[in-house]
């Protein structure tokens, strides 16, 4: 089985910035691929996803739980042919956890990423 990869799907340059941040913190490169919806209709975004996922397996980390990034990702997960799971509400914490835990199937890795990301959202003590 090919190694599990992450594809970050976002508006504007959020995805590129998250990949840069993960690399800066961990030194790990080549595991995450950024995809922006900039200038994309549904068809073009689907093509960018196909190129980023390749043969899979992959987890798609989408910025919002709706909108063009999400609908294209969910449609790709259903119809694209590769073993793909979709997570919404991507944040840096879930990506940092993901790059160190890629030895499970996409659905399981997606659940773990959601847990890691959710634990990072809190009101700081004042």
């Amino acid at each position: 089985m090919s190694e599990l990869r992450g594809v970050i799907v976002s508006h504007a340059a959020v995805a590129q910035a998250l990949v840069a941040a993960v690399t800066a913190i961990t030194g790990i490169e080549g595991v995450l691929t950024p995809v922006s919806n900039e200038g994309c209709g549904t068809e073009a975004l689907g093509q960018r996803l196909r190129e980023a996922v390749g043969a899979g397996p992959a987890v798609l980390f989408v910025d919002l739980p709706g909108g063009s990034c999400f609908t294209s990702s969910a449609r790709y997960a259903k119809q694209g042919g590769a073993d793909v799971a979709v997570v919404t509400g991507v944040n840096l914490a879930m990506l940092l956890d993901f790059v160190f835990h890629r030895d499970s199937p996409p659905a399981e890795a997606a659940r773990r990423a959601v847990d890691a990301g959710a634990k990072a959202i809190r009101v700081a003590a004042s």
Binding site: C40, G41, A44, L64, P65, G66, G67, S68
Partner: protein, 157 residues
Amino acid sequence: MSLALYRIDDRLIHGQVVVGWGQPLDVAFIVLVDDEVSSSDWEQDLYRMGVPPQIEVIFASVEQAAAQLSGWEADPRVGILLVGDIDTAVALAARVPQLKRFNVGGVHHRTGRKERLRFVYLTDDEAAKLRQLAARGVDVTAQDVPTARAIPVTEFT
């Protein structure tokens, strides 16, 4: 007029529509007119996920939309009507003569299309269809977000 915006956008329901236009217009319902989506529960669920629960989403085919448009126009709430391509807009306008405006909000690159604006790519045939729509009395402008200028069809086709 209850439908505050008639929009052509190949992304259909997405951030610019729900937030960019939806917030300032205080939109309470979105009508998505698309023959394919209107016949797919799965696609409808996908598009619903991008919309806050207080906003109703109505899915309709072109025929259904033509039959129900006057009802949506009489709705006291504010709504947005979306179509995904120019052919659907033309088909709807042909069935509903009282439809007098269309906003081109996003038609993106595809083989055969040329860039007309940063967010509008059209084939020559699509550009001609928009001009024909305008010639029939429909106010056709391009505007991606409310804070941008509404660009008349003559400036981008």
